[in-house]
Symmetry: C2
Subunit: 348 residues, 2 copies
């Protein structure tokens, strides 16, 4: 077994604190990754605090992981010692169902194995995440990372990145398409970058005028206040695609109305109350609402290669592992542009 | 001007009664159709009784029209005297916007001209529908009808037919796909016929056990009770496509849960209360909810040609014009399999 240092929480009301545990010895297809940076996702807070129910403790959060390969199993073909490597939101699946065979393991019929806060396939071992010094993962769920990219900014690509890239690809965004992004946080700012890299005409929709400069700084072509009635009237039937990354409660109708012929509302945010849908707004212009959850192993690698080609990374604030509890509090207040990333050197 | 006989209502509380008015003289591109059969759509009741608001009186309902060409304008190229012809839910549009140029005139940016209960493009003349002996329509909105099909059963294709054909095509239903139809009325029974003709594996979902024999009579491969919890559990992640033709209030989640990877919920029913959507059910399996409204002129002709090739017509109960008020009452009670069609000979 491989001893690792980590930060874990022991229950919904406990802060994250130093924790030591062991990773499994390498199986034939396993890769041992020395973790360099670990992104802090809003879902880390939800799960650490059991806000979605069913949390398993002690819990080492973290599913936006980048590092360097330390060692590989005897049958590993994708990686060798010294390679840069990433691990994302999942680390295993049944590998046999239709979604798995199509490399869309996030929709595995038996359920994917999350990187933390769930059982591994043995149904006994609790998977532990990236707020730790090392991780052991089957090579299918380990990705190549280009050495051209700033590593700290790569970590969030493994969740925030793929979660927004995948639906934009599924919606078949083409150069010149009018794409709007609603909700400018960790997910939203990645959606803006991807839509720009796909040569779309990009608008940020926000309830807060203070986001205007942020949107323009990211390169968005337009910024529109979604609280302004005149603006919303002007934007009716306007967009080909709207990526809805809003996690606060909201109705879909307001955004549906802005969609042009065959327009698509891509839903990746998860509000607590179920949004309502006006069927008249849906049948007008043959609009769609499309849900999407992260992305499969093949598409995650495709996204990382796309980022290398287009020089895309997340905008991050690098913190020490010891500052994680303060980072959680700041994240809840949206006081981060746009992702905290832990420099794991602080734990070694 | 061309004098015609009709049945009209003079207000939301008036029954339909004999009415005479004049159709316009033929313009260059107009076709004069002698109406043989006129289908009775549920929306005729909603509009006659002003249940959607904004109704215009006197109103001659009817937008499922088949007949024979009596006369054509000087520049008409598509039709000649004696041809069978159909007119559907719309009779004009701006002809210049993106949807119009793509022959999806139902989504015209200025708004399509409905066959009745709305102004024509002159913004003065009220369009009057198919519960009448003749109609004058621009040839773009007149369709060829095969003489191989039973004419009374063709009339409902112009609304119930295209409304269900169009989304099934947009969802790209393939042979072997698992397609479910929820709501077995005028729309639903057409959806079953189309899905069968597309070689799908077809299931009827219903809240009423009495619909089982009806479903099997239509050729559906399976019938499932949507009120049975065990059945709904068994059907989870099962269908590629569900066509939701339910007009009663309902939530989408129940049906979303039944969709497999990339599954599509096609919405053509218009419940009064806005249905709720659970975003977790939406992101699972990358599901979509897609709205759809009738179909454009090009696709309506394609649908009619498909019906001729596959020998598809609606199941109808032919009535006299004088029986329309009773038919409205029976339709409200779903006491029709599956569409009333008026034999216009009764008015001549």
């Amino acid at each position: 077994m491989i001893p690792v240092k980590a930060f874990a929480t022991k229950g919904p009301d406990s802060p994250l604190a130093p924790f030591e545990f062991e990773r499994r010895d390498l199986r034939e297809h396993d890769v041992l990754v020395d973790i360099l940076f670990s992104g802090v996702c809003h879902s880390d807070v939800h799960q650490a605090r059991n806000e979605w129910g069913g949390s398993m403790y002690p819990m080492v959060p973290g599913h936006e992981i980048v590092g360097k390969v330390l060692k590989v199993g005897s049958k590993v073909t994708k990686f060798k010692e010294g390679d840069l490597a990433g691990v994302g939101v999942m680390v295993d699946s049944c590998r046999e169902c239709k979604p798995c065979v199509s490399h869309m393991e996030q929709y595995c019929v038996e359920g994917m194995t999350g990187t933390y806060n769930g059982y591994e396939r043995d149904k006994v071992t609790i998977a532990q995440g990236g707020y730790s010094t090392q991780i052991v993962t089957d090579e299918r769920w380990v990705y190549h990372i280009s050495d051209k990219l700033e590593l700290s900014g790569v970590a969030p690509l493994l969740c925030a990145g793929i979660t927004t890239y995948s639906p934009l690809k599924y919606a078949n965004v083409q150069p010149g398409d009018k794409v709007a992004v609603a909700g400018l946080g960790g997910l939203g700012h990645m959606a803006v970058k991807f839509a720009l890299a796909m040569d779309a005409d990009v608008t940020v929709l926000s309830t807060s005028p203070s986001k205007k400069q942020d949107a323009l700084d990211l390169g968005a072509h337009h910024f529109e206040l979604s609280t302004d009635e005149e603006t919303m009237k002007k934007l009716k039937d306007n967009f080909n695609v709207i990526l809805d990354a809003i996690s606060a409660d909201h109705d879909y109708e307001k955004y549906l109305d802005l969609l042009d012929l065959n327009g698509k509302l891509l839903v990746v945010g998860l509000p607590k109350d179920n949004p309502k849908v006006n069927p008249f707004a849906l049948i007008k212009n043959r609009r769609s609402i499309i849900g999407s959850m992260i992305g499969g192993t093949k598409e995650t690698q495709e996204m990382l290669d796309f980022c290398a080609e287009k020089n895309i990374t997340a905008n991050v604030e690098v913190i020490k592992m010891q500052d994680i509890n303060e980072a959680f509090e700041r994240m809840i207040k949206n006081d981060v542009k746009y992702r905290f990333v832990i420099d794991m050197a602080s734990l070694k």
